[in-house]
């Protein structure tokens, strides 16, 4: 079975394309282009509750959030707020945080 990283995304937030592009480029850069990037749409509050969706995009590896949210982050249809390493809010994770998380997950 092909290994994959799942991006949970909601169409109300425009960051999913950029998230997929960055993750794909990162996997190529890490020498793991064989790992698939799969987009999974979350479009209802019921689905969000079911999977514990805290915002778009959320990156998951074997069902675990690669960048776990702060405790108490509400579940629901929203754009996820990440923090860059310099503290600025952003719709996407800091590239270095994503790189570190993917490297840890894949063991590379």
């Amino acid at each position: 079975m092909t290994e994959h990283i799942e991006i949970l995304a909601w169409s109300g937030c425009p960051s999913h394309d950029e998230a997929r592009e960055r993750l794909t480029a990162l996997l190529r850069d890490l020498g793991r282009p064989d790992v698939e990037v799969r987009l999974r749409w979350i479009e209802t509050e019921a689905e969000a509750r079911e999977v514990g969706f805290v915002g778009s995009p959320t990156f998951r590896w074997h069902g675990q959030d690669l960048l776990p949210p702060d405790p108490g982050t509400p579940v629901g249809l929203a754009c996820r707020v990440y923090r860059r390493r310099d503290g600025r809010p952003s719709p996407l994770p800091d590239p270095e945080d994503l790189r570190d998380a993917v490297r840890r997950a894949l063991g590379v």
Partner: protein, 180 residues
């Protein structure tokens, strides 16, 4: 449909998130910047400081900047009036922060995203609508689309870039379910 560039924008009155009301009349300033924004949206947050800096930089040039939170607080409690007032109390805003709970003004404007920027000249004409600048991640952009439009209005020149696609989170509209 909402306002298109070139349309006349009517004066409006909305409550401040921290009490009282504000009437926004484009005739009372050389230019009025209306920004639909949100507390929970990472795009609005990423551009937030740049927009506050515009408000500060142009305050003595007869430019008014008002920011409006239009979101449904039932589905997005982070955008409630109370949560918005906390941000004002914390000094996060360089101008009035208004609330459009009924979302009627937001529909009149045709705002779609947070942030969504509308710039109106003294005659009430909409001269710019769209994003603050080209890249939410790049602080050096300094909300250049807004600044370019304001500089043109203040110099009596036409605004050359009068529309850019707004980029950000969708407006969280009220639904029968969420307001029941």
């Amino acid at each position: 449909m909402g306002y298109q560039v070139g349309d006349k924008v009517a004066p409006f009155t909305l409550p401040r998130v921290n009490g009282g009301e504000v009437t926004v009349d484009p005739a009372s300033a050389a230019a009025t910047v209306v920004v639909f924004t949100a507390n929970h949206c990472p795009y609005a947050l990423a551009w937030h400081e740049r927009i506050q800096q515009v408000a500060r930089d142009y305050a003595d040039r007869d430019v008014h900047v008002v920011q409006i939170n239009p979101n449904n607080e039932v589905t997005h409690p982070a955008d409630s009036t109370a949560a918005s007032a906390e941000r004002v109390a914390a000094g996060h805003f360089a101008g009035p922060y208004l609330r459009d709970e009924p979302q009627e003004l937001t529909r009149t404007f045709g705002a779609e995203k947070t942030p969504d920027v509308f710039i109106i000249d003294r005659t009430g004409t909409l001269v710019y609508r769209g994003a603050p600048d080209a890249d939410y991640e790049d602080e050096s952009q300094r909300a250049s689309y807004i600044r370019d439009a304001l500089d043109a209005v203040l110099a009596g020149r036409p605004v050359t870039r009068s529309y850019t696609p707004p980029r950000g989170c969708s407006i969280k509209w009220r639904t029968a379910e969420s307001t029941a």
